[in-house]
Amino acid sequence: MKNFAYVRATSAEDAVRKLQTNANSQFIAGGTNLVDRLKVFLNTPVQLIDVSRLDLKFIESMPDWGVRIGALATNTAVADHPQIRQDYPLLSRAILSGASQQIRNVATIGGNLLQRTRCPYYYDTAFACNKRQPGSGCPAIQGINRMHAIFGASDRCIAVHPSDMCVALAALDAIVEVESSRGKRQIPFDDFHRLPENTPDRDTTLQAGELITAVILPPVSFAKTGVYLKLRDRTSYAFALVSVAAALEVRANRIHDVRLALGGVAHKPWRSAQAEAFLKGKLANPEIFQQAAEIALQGAKPLTHNGFKVEMAKRSIQRALTISAQGGGVA
């Protein structure tokens, strides 16, 4: 770890201002991801701006407009919040399926959005990595790629986004609020994370100098049917091999509305728009769910070691939709 200056931001504006004082500055919130990265030389900032004390820990309901969650609310605070548990069980369960209680107690919502991939090649400077060092190569393509992407990868990068929470946020059509010296803007969740293409060093569309201030959850009338199914190599404290966030609104056995997103399959949470379009108006039954799963996995491009993800994702989708159709619950 290189020496760095440590400063505390007193307000969002102050944080943004401090970020401009040095090009090689980074925000630190809970530090659960950033500090690990610093220790193994993945990042070598000159200045860390501590935003953890900012007044952005609120979880407030906005009349007729869902819930607004401050970027510095902890993962635990959100997962345990009565209103989130009641109205967005999908989000609560997705958060609780990630990391460990201790980590969730300090990890923040903003930090979770910006956690970086767990690709082992990214994680060790002994390996080349285009995400870490653009142009150096991607050894994962010819290496062990069991955890890697089946959608949207490029010949530069096959890493996946590791967050569980973000899969739920993608399904819930969340909006990310950011602030910079240029002002404030809102980013629809699907536009927030990006595919690697030729610049895998960039995980998101966040621009230089921007601070995440909040995440907005629009009201979703059927969010209560939300299901988060996470498959992994052990029962707790492991990243997803494949995960599914699903929510169905079924009226008289017909699917009125639907949300479907996958985790562990791409460089970003993978919303299945085509499968959603297919499901709308159909009967909620196993054959339809199976067809939806086939549609959702169309175009998947598995690598040497992750071919199983295709079938695993299909079956997980069917399972999650089935449970959601029954009103939701633990998957």
């Binding site: 767990r118 082992p120 994680y123 400077t125 290496g143 190599d233 029962t235 199983f308 695993m312």
Partner: protein, 699 residues
């Protein structure tokens, strides 16, 4: 006086451990301590063309940068287990050759850890890269004549009437993943060396350092009061230890090195992957007529380590024809080492899986198949077992589990949409003991002081020693003060091979008896009174215990049986182990609580082996792609069922005066097979390659 031996006694070191007062290796405070950091190879085979250290040398706080070009001098130890032993015969930085990914190529010392780590990252190495040999299938194998064994006409003893099963079973490369990472502090004062380092074998460690530096053993002190788990990985000095001690001498400062989680994966051993072909032939009534067990394992080019998977095969089941053979290959993979039941655990995985397959084929209850083929003697040495309550393990386990009521057909137990399966497997581990010496002092206030260099790697040795002394002297356990893990104390032998208790307890017992003899009293109470009266400070005795002639007459072995239930959600490849019963025959149980904990820990480790543990290597660089405790998956609480542990049998008094055999390893043998056997019952699918991960389960 109430008996304490065999009751449940909470660990004496528990409070110190949970309150952070127990001092582990890296925590010993020494004035002027400086810090080391390793630089490891990013390739698995080749040579170092050039190594550039200039930037690192000029970095702030740096005191030394050591590579193969300026390596400190050490002597080559005898490395023969008696006088000295290294984990890796090749001495660190001995030349420019790279034998495996993650091999140490440089060592940086600085005032702070951060400075050392920073400087280490400024070192650049240019390699001549050669294609490494990483795949077991590509290795050239040599047969190991010592392991070879033929009884009868070997495995060819198959008659027309026989039913056979033949299959190949594999285990994955596993890491010890102990809570406490490996670390060392080396402190030279003139020509005396103090080493703080986790050590399962204190005196051999001491002698090894003495040989490495050409100084008498008395000049080396090894301090290791607490070890945060070892499982076989802290038996002898590793290359990093040698480097640290050697560099500390040159820079004339106390030097600490903590190996990072990442570097642990290649510099502190692992359980080598194995490939085992088992062939069993039996008559229709279940009597075995032939067993053949052929094994392939590998070692690194830097040492020769053998996983003798066939060790327990002639112990478990009788057959007129037995053939054992083993081959060893060399791969460009880090040096493997002992890991909890190093030979027995992988061996029993294959044997107990094959027995299950045979039972299904014969349509015989797997318990009956095992009982029908029990052997009363070790079929290699021909010696009878001193005690064997294996049948009782099976009977008691079956009863507790409800085994006999099970629906016989695979896929016939369904609960909440999941397939349930029941499986069982046997467990066994040899009982060993070594030479130990213990000093016991009885003070006038009734305090008993027990000293020995043997140590507690988390197993409960402090408590076991206290229990033995308390029992022998008739004093409360709280009155016994135990000090372990210091080479200034009498030789306490090896904490490995499950032999610490069997080796130490008899010496403690003897020393306590001698204390009473010296006092000429029959109770500690009387002895204390005598001390008070005479004004004498203490009664003291030093006693030694060693294995006797009995080892020529008997084979000593512990036994057990595991029963488990799994729930498989086949569609999505999800599995939970939902129930577990283990019954063990370990001779005398010294501390019921600690012994049960050892079995539980073993079962948990075995579940990890069965379902998730694997250290995969990048196929090009040969460097592991797991890098911490989050990416190397071992069971969490959520993966662990309630584990019901019962002990049966009696003190094995032919083995030692207390009849205690040890319990550290027997519990892990058979666990993986029990899980796979249960999965077969649940799904009708036989898994022969570990770990059985979700992708395999749903395939």
């Amino acid at each position: 006086m109430k008996r304490v031996m065999g009751t449940s006694v909470s660990r004496k070191d528990g409070f110190a451990k949970v309150t952070g007062q127990a001092t582990y290796t890296a925590e010993h405070p020494l004035p002027g301590l400086v810090h080391g950091y390793l630089v490891t190879s990013a390739i698995a085979k080749g040579r170092i063309k050039s190594i550039s250290t200039q930037k690192a040398e000029q970095a702030p706080g740096v005191l030394a940068v050591v590579t193969h070009k300026n390596r400190p001098k050490v002597f080559t130890p005898a490395n023969d287990f008696r006088n000295s032993k290294l984990n890796e015969a090749r001495l660190p930085l001995s030349d420019d050759q790279i034998h495996y990914g993650g091999q140490i190529v440089a060592f940086v010392v600085a005032h702070t850890l951060e400075q050392a780590r920073d400087a280490a990252h400024l070192i650049t190495v240019e390699y001549d890269i050669q294609t490494p040999l990483l795949e077991a299938q590509q290795a050239i194998y040599e047969a190991l004549p010592d392991v070879k064994f033929n009884k009868g006409n070997g495995a060819t003893g198959t008659t027309e009437a026989a039913i056979t099963v033949e299959a190949t079973y594999t285990t994955a490369k596993e890491l010890h993943a102990a809570m406490e990472p490996h670390a060392i502090i080396a402190h030279w004062q003139a020509d005396s060396l103090t080493i703080y380092e986790g050590s399962q074998w204190v005196m051999l460690h001491q002698r090894t350092y003495a040989e490495l530096f050409g100084i008498p053993s008395e000049k080396v002190r090894l301090v290791t009061p607490y070890i945060g788990g070892a499982f076989g990985s802290k038996c002898f000095p590793w290359s990093y230890s040698i480097l640290c001690a050697a560099v500390a001498r040159e820079i004339k400062r106390p030097l600490k090195l903590s190996v990072t989680r990442r570097q642990l994966t290649t510099n502190t051993g692992h359980r080598a992957a194995t490939e085992q072909t088992l062939r069993l032939a039996a008559m229709q009534d279940g009597k075995l007529i032939a067993i053949s067990h052929a094994v392939k394992t590998y070692t690194s080019p830097a040492d020769r380590f053998i996983v003798d998977c066939t060790a327990t095969t002639p112990v478990m089941y009788a057959a007129p024809n037995i053939r054992l053979q083993q081959k060893l290959g060399v791969l460009n993979v880090a040096t493997p080492t002992y890991m909890r039941a190093p030979s027995e655990n992988p061996g029993m995985w294959a044997l107990e899986s094959a027995m299950d397959e045979l039972a299904w084929k014969l349509n015989i209850d797997p318990i009956d198949l095992r009982l029908d083929n029990e052997t009363r003697a070790h079929q290699r040495s021909g010696l009878p077992f001193s005690a064997k309550h294996f049948a009782e393990c099976l009977r008691v386990g079956a009863e507790k589990f409800g085994w006999r009521d099970r629906p016989k057909q695979p896929r016939s137990l369904i609960h909440n949409g999941q397939l349930l399966g029941w499986g069982m497997a046997a467990a066994t581990f040899p009982a060993m003991r070594g030479n130990t010496t213990v000093k016991v002092r009885l003070l006038p206030d009734g305090t008993v002081h027990v000293l020995t260099a043997g140590n507690d790697m988390g197993t409960g040795a402090y408590t076991m020693v206290a229990i033995t002394a308390a029992e022998a002297l008739g004093v409360p356990v709280e009155k016994v003060k135990v000090e372990l893990g210091d080479s200034l104390f009498p030789d306490g032998g090896l904490a490995g091979g499950s032999q610490m208790t069997a080796s130490l307890a008899p010496a403690v017992l003897k020393a306590c008896e001698e204390v009473l003899q010296k006092a000429n009293c029959t109770t500690a109470n009387d002895a204390c009174a005598a001390l008070k009266q005479s004004g004498r400070a203490a009664f003291e005795a030093i006693a030694t215990s060693a294995p006797g002639e009995d080892a020529q007459k008997w084979a000593f072995q512990s036994w057990g049986a595991h029963f488990c239930e799994v729930a498989v959600d086949e569609a999505i490849g999800r599995i939970r182990v939902t129930r577990w019963v283990s019954v063990m025959d370990i001779g005398r149980v010294m501390n019921a609580k600690a012994a049960a904990s050892q079995v539980r820990g073993s079962v948990i480790m075995g579940i990890g082996e069965a379902l998730m543990e694997e250290c995969q290597l990048d196929p090009n660089s040969g460097y592991p792609v797991v890098y911490d405790l989050a990416t190397y998956h071992y069971p969490t609480h959520a993966d662990t069922p309630r584990i019901d542990v019962t002990f049966v049998g009696q003190p094995d008094l032919t083995f030692n005066p207390l009849g205690v055999r040890g319990v550290g390893e027997v519990g892990i043998t058979g666990v993986a097979a029990a899980v796979a056997n249960a999965i077969y019952h649940a799904t009708g699918k036989r898994f022969r390659n570990l770990p059985i991960t979700p992708d395999k389960l749903m395939a």
